[in-house]
Symmetry: C2
Subunit: 384 residues, 2 copies
């Protein structure tokens, strides 16, 4: 096992009607920015719940944070936060809104160009505290310090991370996911699944507990994901997916083990160039990446196959093939397509994708740093 | 899944030589109480490491915290802490030292009789902050708010719990466990195993991820525990046990599910009356408790048998018997005996044990509150 430090400062408020706990957790004299996305929360009761618990508090609403939150939009929110002397951000939504809140929280008191927080790891002072009300289980953003921001004008998707911007609390009420469109449910399950894979499917370092935890999340997502599509009003199914997605990326399972993240880095370029959903990009890249990296990853692919998909028969090479296919079949069962061509992207686009990887310095990805531009091209070609 | 709130404030510093991280985490103008147990740390290098990182800091040493820490000893430490205006406790040891530190931390500024913290849940103000350097993986005390204190003069073992006394950091260096006597290694593995069981072996509430995590810890302990006895200098084995014991009782796996804890409550009386090691009491009580509660617990016992011990053949009743036997065999393989008679306690003592349970109000134990004194007697009789 590798050395590590671990602490997770987010208080999880999980279950029915936990929104009621929010009021007691706001700072005194709170001036709250109520941040949300496209407005679906106005149709499913969540907006009313939130305004209910914010009754009597000074609130500035900021709506319109996009999926893959846009730098330009977030900078508008920064200005609004400054103008209204906001001292707390309540982010109500999925990973995009919460990621956006983290960037706003860091940028409000930052004196330089806030883009530097994303591209130069610029140091920032004490950010605004954030509370999260999660409506879409997927990214784990509600209890980690990661944020990904998109910038359309330059076709860039960039990330920053800091414990300082991690939400102080996160409301996880599975009821808030009942009204999600199937596509978002599917994306969330695929996203969480790949988060686990990035921290698990590398090479063994004799860390059996981390393996078991990772496999436990994968097993749960594989069993509960399709149920969420088949019986969308099942509370326990929603609860199990919600808790799995949070545990998938709250830092725990990746401690003491190598991590990969190449699938995410390649996927980010697909979103930046073609506006694909984040999970769609992961579903495209991962199976091909597993195939190209199968020698490095053989021990863990075999273990994944056996423990998560019950693949125990045949030679190693056969079991590896079957495991890759099982992953791909799972994504397809979740109604997320796994080929570039499914999204009207063909081989002629691969040059552009590789060029973008190069522009963003993504030239030595993966747990061994051996996914260079040539290997990335091989992966993308296989996924065409 | 049941509603829950969860936050764990302890920063885990895991791995080789992480003791070096301590100095940077002490408060400014720290006046540290360096609290430890019987002095074994002077023979294995840990004492030297700790005094090394405390170089230049005002330190008050307090040695002699016993296994099952004694109220009287801890009250002496409280006086020493007051006399020296200590503002930080560095607890170096196993669960007993860390549990003791929590009581001292709460009692130092408490104006009433500190025994009330244990028997009347008396409110206390801001406790002293605690850092832990773990030398014996077992209780999970290094990253939870629980404390158990013994009082010989009245044959009482009582607990209190508060997030406020949870260590702010915990150093988990597996190297620090190399010199442990086999008996303490065994006790630690059994203790951690039963901590998981208390939060797992109840009844299903459709919380598959919690089940998988619990089973993952159990599987790891079952596979690594005997290796720690066979090859005591294997770093990874020690690391895996250490991390498992911490995860067993840091609050995570018990969230959203029912909990039992009857084995612990009955076991506490065996320590209070006969000074048995805590883990010995658990190894005695658990198998018999599983047998007596087998109807309530059947679904989870079958799942435990299948997933942790590979017991999949035969009728339910047979598989339940085999699973109880597998648990008992595991304890015996860890060299912890499982019968009262192994410790020179016989049936004639059971009246005293039951009387003590009654005196301490332990008359409706377990996840259904149905373990009354008659059932406790049945369990103890079966364990004779």
């Amino acid at each position: 096992m590798l050395n590590f430090t671990f602490k997770n400062r987010t208080e999880i408020l999980f279950g029915k009607d936990q929104i009621q706990e929010v009021a007691a957790r706001l700072p005194e004299n709170a001036k709250v920015m109520f941040l949300y996305g496209g407005g679906s929360i106005k149709n499913n009761g969540i907006y009313a719940d939130v305004t209910g618990v914010l009754n009597g508090v000074v609130v500035t609403e900021f709506a319109g944070v996009e999926p893959n939150p846009e730098f330009e939009t977030l900078m508008k929110a920064v200005q609004v936060a400054r103008d209204n002397e906001v001292n707390f951000i309540l982010a109500v939504g999925g990973g995009s809104v919460i990621d956006g809140a983290k960037f706003i929280a860091a940028a409000v008191n930052f004196t330089g160009d806030p883009w530097d927080i994303l591209v130069k790891d610029a140091e920032f002072g004490e950010p605004l505290p954030i509370g999260a009300v999660l409506t879409l289980p997927a990214t784990g953003s509600e209890s980690n310090g990661n944020s990904v921001v998109n910038r359309k004008e330059t076709a860039q998707k960039r990330a920053f991370g800091s414990d300082k911007v991690q939400p102080v609390f996160a409301v996880l009420d599975p009821q808030y996911t009942f009204s999600l469109p199937a596509r978002q449910v599917s994306n969330g399950v695929v996203d969480a699944f790949v988060h686990v894979i990035e921290q698990y499917l590398t090479y063994p370092v004799n860390a059996p507990l981390q393996d078991r935890f990772a496999e436990g999340i994968l097993q749960t997502l594989v069993s509960e994901g399709p149920k969420a599509l088949a019986t969308p009003q099942d509370y326990d199914v929603r609860a199990n997916i919600m808790w799995s997605a949070t545990m998938a990326l709250n830092g725990l399972i990746g401690k003491g083990v190598p991590q990969d993240w190449a699938t995410h880095m390649i996927g980010h370029e697909l979103t930046a160039l073609y506006s694909l959903d984040h999970a769609q990009t992961l579903a495209i890249v991962l199976p091909s990446l597993m195939f190209v990296q199968r020698d490095h990853k053989s021990a863990k692919i075999l273990q994944l196959g056996e423990r998560v998909f019950g693949i125990t028969e045949g030679e190693d090479a056969k079991r590896i093939d079957l495991t890759i296919k099982a992953v791909q079949d799972f994504f397809e069962a979740m109604q997320v397509n796994t080929r570039l061509s499914d999204y009207q992207i063909d081989k002629s686009n691969i040059n552009d994708i590789v060029a973008n990887l190069e522009k963003n310095g993504m030239t030595s990805l993966g747990e061994h740093g051996d996914i260079d531009l040539a290997k990335a091209r091989e992966i993308l070609t296989l996924a065409a």
